[in-house]
Each structure stands twice: as C-alpha cells, then as structure tokens.
C-alpha cells in the first residue's frame, strides 16, 4: 500500500501544489485516506501533517474513513426534493437497512448526501463511484442495490444511455443533454480550429481589442467585461495563466455539463485563443469532481486537439505559440467556483477565497497573473473571433450583449438548457419552458433572487436581473420557506469556507432563527432581526458566498413577506421558543420519572 501511495506522489513529482491530485488518486485507489497515508504525503511533499489534513478535510469527496466499495452520493438539492428525492432516499435506506451518512452492508456500500450535482433537469440523481445515475425511482434503487450487492461494476449498471456524445464509448452515460433552444451563438455550426488559426494572424492586442469591442461580459455570474480582464492581465509580467472555471456549483446550473459534453473542442479552442492573447503557456480547466464521468472523454479530445496542432507546440504552425491544458478536478466544494478559491485549490490548498487586492489578474496561480473565465465565456470568444465583434454585439440588450445559456429546472414541463438572448422577459421564458401556476422563480441559484409573479415582466440581463444561468421554477403547491429557503440556507452553511466570522457564524444564526419561526415561535421582531443581520452579511464578508448567503431569506422576505407573517404569533412580542416539556424529557426518561410540569 505504502509503495502505491509513494508511486502516486511521485507521479506528481512530490509537488505539494498538486496535493489535490495526490489526494484524489489515493482516495480513488483505496476508498479513503488514512492517517498513515497522510503521514507519507506530508513527508514526501514537505508539508506538515496538519497542512495535508487541512486540504483533505476541506473537500466533501475526500475521506479519512473508508467510504465503501460503492459510495452513493445522492443529491439533496431543492429540485431533487421536488422530483421525489425523499422516496428515493427512503428506498436506499430500506433496501440497505441503514441511514444516510453511514457505511452499510459490512462496509461495502456507503450512503451520503451531496449538494447539487448538475443534473437538475433529470433528478433525482446520484453519483456512485464517479458514474451518474439519473431520474431515479424507488424501483430503480432496488435494482441498483441488488447489483451493488452482486459486485457488479457501476458502469455496467446503467440501463439507459443518454443522447449526443453521452452515448460515446468514452462517456457512456445515462445523462441527457436536454438542449431545448440552441440559439445563434454557441450551438451554431462552425469549423473547428478556424478561430485559433485566425488569431495567429493577429497580434495578441488585436485579439484583446476584438473581445473588448464585442462587449462580452463574464458568464460566471459577476459579469466582468472579458476583454478588459485580459487587458489587465497583460499589464502584469508573466508567466501568465488562463484558468477555465468549470466548477458549476451553483445549485440548479447544468449548462456547462452540456458544453463539456457536446462542445469540448470549442472550449479548448477558446482557451488556446485566450492563451494567445495573454501569452500564456499553460492553462487549467478546473472541473468539478461531480463531472468526473467526462474525464476519459475530455482527455481524449485534448489529445485529438494536440494531434490536430490546435494545442501543444507551435499551434497552427505559429512559432512559439505553445499551450498545454491540464484538467484539475475539484472534490466537492461550491466555494471553489469563486475564482481565487479555485486558484488556491488548484495549488493544492483548502479552497479559501483570497483577499483582494491583489486580484488574480495581478497575482493568481503560483503568484502569477491569471485570468479565470467561465466555460461559456471562453466558448463565446471563439464565435466572436469567427463572426466578428459586431455580429455579436448586435444581439442582446444594451448592457448585455449576445446570448446566454440558461439552465431551467423545477416545476416545468421542459427542463433543460435554453440559449436565450439577453433581455428576455422572465414571463416569456416561463412560457416556453412549459409552466403553469408558478408561485416563484429563483434566478441565479441560492445566491440569486427569488421573485414572484409581479416581477415576471422583468428581464434577464445585467441591467435588470443578472444570472450565471440557473433558473429554478417553484410551483403553486410548494412551501417556499420550508421547501426552498431552508434548503438553500443549509447549503450555504455546508459550503462556507469558514474564514469570515459573519459567513461562518451568522448564516447559522439566521438559519436557527428561521427554524424558530417555522416552529411557530417567531415574533415580528424576528423578521426585523433577519433583515438587519442579512444586511450585515452583505457588506461584511470577503467573498460572494458570504455576501449572498442571506439572500434566500432576504429576497423571500422582500417578495413573500406574507408567508413569513403567516407563521408569526402576532399577539406576542417576545418568544424564546423555550419548551419545558421538551427540556426535561431526557432527564426524566433516564431517571425513570413521569414529568410533572
């Protein structure tokens, strides 16, 4: 065992900045990372033991204890719950006779909850040993459990094969693309390699200028102008890096899954163009661990691109245009989608966002200037180079040019990916998604806003309601507080990196106060407290996670205040929720006494 571990570490040149890969390989090999392994890693990489543990214990998919020959990670997002997750979870527990969070069947099968796995259009879904199982039902669970008990390989357990490249032998997955609206930009026909060829005839500055004049803004959520970001990066002395953000962790988002499946060449070409513009020699795709089922396929496409001279050395025959891409897998941490946390993680550390300044474009990966761009942003650049900035900026709205991929899920007939022009009204999107009786729409995932029908006339755009792409539709029969807000708050509590005091502590305190209200012990003052504490969260935290962690409560309080007020005891101005009967129950039971209250 020890030699295997050492071989793994040597494969990464005993390099502590590759700690993520080292841990991942060991986890995959042994199903856990024991104290002994940690000691070996520490010794071989020159880290202290606590430092290795610091990274290890940060990520959901690393474990110091065995996770089982089969590790079932069942998504527990809002949409999964809407689609019948409870029955599926119950089926797993009943079949195995054990609860989630535990090892069952003498350590053979482990049951775990996990945050959104990017399958909101085909929930309930789970990942078992890197293989995705979608549209689960209690009946299907029965079959899966039986096959696990028989020792079948997970890849042989899938019963349906998805469409498009999902059926290619290198992916061979149950996942469906569900592309509902292709739009004129990303999914349109194009000639692979034409754009990168074209840029080799331009100067890097001309490429930056072209992107600038398209007014392309980042698709990852923040909407920073892409050309400007590249220009800033060029101002810092290299070596420079381009990182593609494929962490796609915002619950309800899955559009990048589809790009990675159907358009990986577009993405790699875009990265090569960015590399040319930035004079970068190395790029990283930071891919969420949940999408490991695409690993072999993406690696094969990378090889193909190299063979075609679209990556590697002297790309398109241009001397000195060398560029390599490596895939860095994440291991279950939403915050690693934040660009500086992503860089920390790619350097083998806990995914804690950095303080700014310096910005990544000044000091990023390994202290060098780094551009982090979203998958969709990078892909869009290729089409801009091919068709021209003017063609692109004609589409969309005033401050938001072009199109946007939207991941639609929840209570609708046609969940899937929609390429829309910026400026589309929410109402129109709801119509084509096949909805009726919509109570609320969550735009931009948990960190975004929850709006009611009064706001459906508003538009999806940076100037109105911006979004990284997740749109979750909440039907009339849902209980918005219990079904949605609670889940989102728990998500933020689990995913905070834990560095900032407000994000780490006040999120929990807000969640507890919410529970107090749900339990019928709320008073009007509690609502004021939530607003006040939430306002503090917005301004006091370091990164977007903490700054938006109160949004599920804040935006529903704003748009659905009556739902909260209905839970409030209006006759009382003070209620601690203290319950004497509950408080004495344990001790009375233990001393064998009937409580006399």
């Amino acid at each position: 065992m020890r030699t295997t571990v050492k071989t793994i570490i040597e494969k990464y040149n005993n390099d502590k900045t590759r700690l993520m890969d080292i841990l991942m390989d060991i986890q995959n090999n042994f199903g856990f990372i024991s104290d002994k392994f940690v000691e070996v890693i520490a010794r071989e990489t020159g880290l202290s033991i606590v430092d290795v543990e610091q990274t290890l214990t940060f990520y959901h998919f690393f474990s110091k204890k065995p996770v089982g020959e089969y590790a079932v990670y069942l998504n527990n997002s809002v949409v999964a719950n809407m689609k019948g997750r409870a029955a599926v979870a119950k089926a797993f527990e009943e079949e195995l006779g054990c609860k989630f969070g535990n090892l069952c069947d003498d350590g053979k099968i482990g049951l775990y909850n996990t945050a959104c796995i990017g399958m909101s259009d085909q929930e309930p879904a789970a990942i078992i040993n890197d293989t995705v199982f979608t549209s689960l039902t209690p009946l299907k669970v029965k079959g899966i459990v039986q096959q696990m008990r028989e020792g079948k390989k997970v890849t042989e357990m899938i019963d349906v094969i998805g469409d498009g490249n999902n059926s290619s032998p290198l992916i061979n997955s149950m996942v469906f693309n569900n592309i509902r609206k292709e739009g004129p930009v990303l999914f349109s026909e194009y000639e692979v390699g034409a754009a990168v060829k074209k840029v080799t005839e331009m100067t890097p500055n001309e490429v930056v200028d072209e992107v600038k004049s398209s007014y392309l803004r980042g698709r990852g959520g923040a909407g920073f102008p892409t050309g400007l970001k590249w220009e800033f990066c060029r101002k810092s002395e290299g070596p420079r890096y381009i990182h593609c953000n494929a962490d796609e962790g915002e619950p309800g988002t899955f559009k990048e899954r589809v790009i990675l499946t159907e358009l990986p060449k577009l993405l790699f070409e875009g990265m090569a163009i960015a590399a040319y513009a930035l004079d970068a020699k190395e790029g990283i795709i930071y891919l969420r661990g949940e999408y490991k089922y695409l690993k072999n396929y993406l690696e094969a496409v990378l090889e193909e691109m190299k063979t075609a001279n679209l990556l590697g050395e002297n790309i398109c025959g241009k001397k000195g245009f060398d560029f390599e891409i490596r895939i860095q897998f994440g291991a279950g941490a939403y915050v690693c989608g934040e660009e500086s946390a992503l860089i920390e993680s790619a350097e083998g550390k806990r995914g804690e966002p950095r303080n700014r300044p310096p910005f990544p474009v000044q000091k990023g990966y390994l202290g060098m200037p780094t551009v982090v761009n979203n998958v969709e942003t990078i892909c869009t650049v290729v089409k801009i180079i091919n068709n021209g900035a003017d063609w692109f900026s004609m589409m969309g709205s005033h401050e938001s040019t072009g199109t946007k991929l939207i991941s639609v899920s929840g209570d609708c007939d046609f969940p899937g990916v929609y390429a829309i022009e910026w400026g589309m009204r929410i109402r129109d999107l709801l119509e084509i998604a096949g909805t009726e009786d919509v109570l609320a729409v969550q735009i931009g995932g948990p960190s975004g806003v929850c709006i009611g029908s009064k706001e459906f006339k508003r538009t999806i755009s940076f100037e109105d309601i911006p979004t990284g792409g997740a749109i979750t539709i909440i039907g009339k029969d849902r209980d918005i507080i219990k079904d949605v807000v609670v889940n989102y708050m728990d998500f933020f509590i689990d995913e905070s990196c834990g560095s900032c005091v407000p994000c780490r502590a006040i999120t929990v305190l807000m969640r507890n106060k919410l529970q107090k209200i749900i339990d019928g012990n709320g008073v009007m003052n509690d609502l004021d407290d939530l607003v006040d504490w939430g306002a503090k969260m917005k301004i006091a935290n370091r990164c977007g996670l903490g700054q938006t962690a109160a949004n599920p409560i804040l935006t529903t309080l704003e748009n659905f205040r009556e739902k909260y007020e209905a839970l409030i005891d209006k006759d009382s101005d003070y209620n601690t929720g203290f319950d004497l009967e509950k408080a004495v129950a344990d001790s009375c039971a233990y001393v064998d006494r009937v409580p006399n209250l």
Binding site: S48, V501, I506, W533
Partner: protein, 233 residues
Amino acid sequence: MSEKIKFTIDGKQCLAKKGQNVLDAALENGVYIPFLCHVKGVKQAGSCRICNVKVAGRTMTACTTPVAPGMEVENDIPELHDLRLAIIEALFVEGNHFCPSCEKSGNCELQALAYRYQMMVPRFPYSFPQKEIDASNSKILIDRNRCVLCKRCIRSFQDDQGRNLFAFKSRGHKVEINIDKECAVNLSDELAQEIMDVCPVGALIRKEKGFNEPIGTRKYDKKPIGSEITSVV
C-alpha cells in the same frame, strides 16, 4: 525617504507609507480601528471582519486595503459600530467563552473588544457547541471552546523547514484549529509563550502557567483595548 500618501480617516488628515494597509497606517496615525485577526508584520487574514471600514460607500477590511492617495475612510460611525459589535457577539455565542474560568481573562482581546463596545449580552442565542480540548502537546493546551479561528497561530508559526505548526481542519462552522504532532513536538518555553501571546483569546494556553496576574493588574482591567491609540468617548 519615500513619498508619503495623504488620506483621511473620519476627516482627520493622515499619512501612510506606500503600499501600507489602512489598518497599520491608522494605528500609526493615532486612529484606532478595532481588529482581532491582524498581527503586525504577518500576512493579513482578513477573516475576523472587525476592522471593516467604509471607503466611497463600500465596506472593506482595513487590514487588506492598501491606502490610496486621497482616500476618505469612514471608521467611527454608528453603522460600523453596530456591525463590529454584532461580529463580536457572534463570536461569543459561536464558541464557549466562560470568561470567569479562563486563564486569559483580563488579557483577552475578544473580551477587551466586548468591553470597549459595551456588550452586555449578545443579541444572538448561545449555541453551546461541543468542542474537543487537545492536551496532547507537552507545552501547549488547545481549548477549542475559546478559539475564534483568527488564524494568527497558523500564519505566525513555521518550523525551520517552513512547515506550518498549526492548520485548520474542515470548513464552515465545523472549522477547528489543530497543532502538528511532529513539527510542534519539542517547543521551547519561549516559543510556547510566544504562541500563547499571539493567540488573542485563551485557546492556546501554556501548560502549568496561568492566572499569573492578579485581577486589577491585567492588560484590559483598567483601560480599554486601543485606548493607547484612541480613547473611548
């Protein structure tokens, strides 16, 4: 001598060195901005968020913000006062701070901030978390009940090979501090004292020491924290 940068805090004219952060510059200019995680000369953490100030309407941590020429910093304003107090209170309810029995009481910076900001009772309910104490090190006892996760210890102490003596474990509200069993095995008394002194609270305690100073003579018994810089009005 290099050019000094002019800026203001609550209207008061201040001078900073090039590249200096707002917090250090403020303290040098006789303006107290409260903080907990900052240690002079050590890489900023920007994690306690107590030194939040306002610049052009935006809140930012003074310790991580470099002074820019002409910058107008707001510090002593009611909004920030309440924010800082809320953070201090959140720390009190997040851990188990039994001041009456703590070796650091009277010399604790968290407690001192609570005094300065006149915390009578936190606005949040207490959470009484269950935390483990680590007494395995021969010189230092770690009482995680009192740790405010400021990372001062992580950032301050490395062994001769550059390896960290302290590190975090886990994430979110489950984060806890850990000491390395190998790198921190033979701490000298001096280093142990330094470690205890760096910790703002009583989470890192030297074994067989404590309660050395009688009540009344401790650091914050008579004078508020920061009063050597700006007195409390």
